[in-house]
């Protein structure tokens, strides 16, 4: 996994509450038994007209050339709600997004982000609105910075907000770490606990 320290990039505002994972990647777009090949299906229901085609919908913000290449997504509350499909995080990452700044996240989606090197940044709505406003009509020349070491987001005009993130998630993202490797370091603990638990609750161990 790609480590994330700090990123200065074009941000794109899609500020709406309850953007669900069906909207991020519709079921019909998940066509191969793979974590890749998903970027084209990202936001497919909104990005193309008519639905099901590959004709860019000029009204959808990701199709606005001023926002290319966007690497930071700005959104509303409860982002990533709905289906647990990790394809939503895979599609965002493959498209190029490295951070999502939202008012709140669905918990499964949040950990899917962390497992795929995308920083889930939670900020107050007013801050997100202010960041979106800072882009003006030249988002490509007013990049936004997400600094995970400092836990801050700043705009080209110098406004800055700090955000909170769990220590575990931050460490994993900063180091580009694999959670399984980290857990393997506690293998002995796990084996001891399972052995004791097997005596306690034998019916669990089929």
């Amino acid at each position: 996994m790609l480590p994330f320290k700090s990123l200065t990039a074009i941000a794109v505002p899609l500020i709406r509450d309850n953007i669900d994972t069906d909207a991020i990647i519709p079921s019909r777009e998940m066509q191969s038994v793979s974590k890749t090949g998903l970027a084209g299906g990202l936001f497919a229901g909104w990005r193309y007209r008519p639905v099901g085609s590959r004709e860019p919908n000029p009204d959808f913000i990701l199709n606005d050339p001023r926002f290319a290449p966007a690497k930071i997504l700005l959104s509303g509350g409860n982002f990533g709600c709905g289906s647990s499909r990790e394809h939503a995080a895979w599609a965002l990452a493959e498209y190029g997004f490295r951070a999502v700044v939202a008012a709140s996240f669905n918990p499964i989606f949040r950990s899917n982000c962390v497992n795929n090197g995308i920083v889930p940044v939670e900020l107050e709505r007013d801050a997100i609105t202010a960041i979106a406003a800072s882009l003006g009509d030249r988002p490509d020349s007013r990049p936004v910075t997400v600094d995970l070491e400092a836990c801050s987001v700043s705009t080209a005009s110098g406004s800055r907000w700090t955000f909170g993130i769990d220590a575990e998630a931050r460490q994993m993202l900063l180091g580009g770490m694999d959670a399984i490797e980290l857990t393997f370091m506690r293998q002995e603990n796990i084996a001891e606990m399972r052995a004791a638990d097997r005596n306690e609750r034998p019916w669990i161990y089929l």
């Binding site: 038994v33 499909r85 990790e86 399984i180």
Partner: protein, 469 residues
């Protein structure tokens, strides 16, 4: 420590291997369920990394997400790419030595229907599945939650997960639900009242007389929609109804182990005076049959209500979202929900496809016909439910009324296998999500109980199942 411990605290502490940091713990995972949408991806990725499944006998694989549900089905799906998910998952499950409930097996079905049916989920156990509706299984007093595919790899390789400890919330539902008001109506009522972020960050314990009165299948329906509530999961303290339900099921303990299990399961309740981070009380008598009008499950109202004006739901969605939902659904404020013409009716999904759901819908359909022009489909939650329903003659009632009677699977709750209701069709559905284009391109989904779906199918328009048809 004063105040006693919550049910969640008891299960969590008995599964905690170690603390990771102030917010997260490493916890033991007792059961893992996989399905063909992500099963092969996770198992292949694990194998590629040279890792093996630590406890294959505690891991189960179902075929539900992508499989076709039309009679006489094979591995083929309407969307050509679907077949690869089925075959790859089958191959990967066999290679890893996991128990697979395959197409054609008597145990095939939707994971959250099959797992309780076979006694895979047990009180006090931890269970994870790469599916957001895993929270359903909290109905049996387990701590069950949905995860992503990478987290599933972690669980398979280590029999643990690194998890942020959720906060605790108790929702006590006092009194008795009115006759004709179901667990689904209760779930939609809670969503309309507390919003789709109402449970965010919390494990929700459902308690109170109205919850204790629900049978196990109805509890599965109530817990099912905790994910729509934004919750980590939901749980209900297991009681004699749950123990009776589990006794004799294939993977439930037997003999002396059953007796020992019962002793420990009876301790699984929140202590008197246990403190929760959040508490809500709801009067069951305030709950009416519900239906959604918008594109988020929180956009639900009583069936005898009208599409709300923005002014009446202020504080919930911003104006733009409210208007967007109205435009998408092709509705205007003031339109009465009852009487709204429908194109299709669907009974199925992990929310409402169990035998009791089908029985109640069949009671309304007996001797009646689906209105002309309405496409009506029933997809039993599992092959076992289908067989039991057929033994009772329920399939005949559905078929005679004009419903399609299908093989089991997630089916048109979403269109993973490629089948859908068609452009802008208005669907009354016993499922859990009314998101844009969830059931087909720009489809307009209205969520309701199976009774309401059945009554509406007959009327050709959204109808109250309590009114004479």
């Amino acid at each position: 420590m004063t105040g006693g411990r919550t049910l969640f605290d008891k299960i969590w502490s008995s599964h905690r291997v170690s603390a990771i940091d102030d917010a997260s713990d490493l916890v033991l995972v007792d059961r893992i369920l996989l399905h063909e949408r992500t099963g092969a991806v996770a198992l292949r990725s694990l194998a590629t990394a040279g890792r093996r499944v630590l406890a294959p006998r505690q891991s189960f694989v179902v075929m539900d997400h992508v499989v076709d549900t039309r009679p006489g089905r094979t591995d083929a799906t309407m969307i050509p790419s679907g077949t690869a998910f089925i075959t790859a998952t089958r191959d990967a499950a066999r290679a890893a030595g996991l128990t697979l409930f395959d197409l054609g097996d008597a145990e095939q079905g939707i994971g959250h229907v099959v797992s309780p049916e076979l006694g895979i989920v047990l009180p006090g156990a931890t269970l994870v599945c790469p599916d957001s509706h895993t929270c359903s299984q909290g109905a049996l007093g387990a701590l069950a939650w949905g995860i992503g595919s990478t987290a599933a790899e972690h669980a398979l390789a280590t029999s643990t997960l690194r998890v942020k400890r959720p906060k605790t919330m108790r929702i006590t539902i006092d009194g008795e639900l009115d006759s004709g008001v179901t667990a689904k109506d209760l779930a939609l009522h809670l969503l309309s009242r507390f919003g789709s972020s109402g449970g965010a960050g919390h494990i929700v314990e459902y308690a109170g007389a109205a919850v204790r009165a629900l049978d196990v299948e109805a509890r599965l329906t109530l817990c099912n929609m905790a994910t729509e509530f934004g919750a980590f999961s939901a749980i209900i303290a297991p009681d004699e109804k749950v123990f009776d339900y589990l006794k004799g099921r294939r993977y439930a303990p037997t003999g002396a182990e059953w007796d020992a299990a019962l002793v420990s399961w009876r301790l699984l309740r929140s202590d008197e005076g246990a403190l929760f981070d959040a508490e809500h009380r709801v009067d069951a008598r305030d709950v009416a049959p519900m239906v959604t009008w918008g594109v988020s499950p929180q956009q639900a109202i009583a069936l005898d209500g009208e599409v709300p004006d923005f002014a009446n739901v202020e504080g919930r969605d911003p104006r733009e979202l409210h208007d967007r939902a109205l435009a998408y659904m092709d509705l205007r404020p003031g339109v009465r929900m009852a009487g709204l013409p429908i194109d299709a009716a669907f009974i199925g999904s992990c929310t409402n496809s169990r035998l009791s759901d089908l029985r109640r819908a069949a009671a309304l359909l007996r001797g009646r016909k689906v209105a002309p022009g309405v496409k009506a489909i029933c997809v039993p939650g599992s092959t076992a439910v289908r067989a039991e329903a057929e033994a009772e003659g329920i399939d005949r009632i559905f078929r005679d009324a004009g419903f399609e009677w299908r093989e089991s699977g997630c089916s048109m709750c979403f269109y993973a296998g490629g089948e859908n209701f068609g452009l802008r069709q208005r669907v009354i559905s016993s499922t859990n999500r009314n998101f844009e284009s969830r059931q087909g391109p720009e489809t307009r989904s209205h969520l309701a109980s199976p009774e309401t779906v059945a009554a509406s199918a007959v009327a050709g328009a959204i109808a109250d199942p309590r009114s004479p048809l």
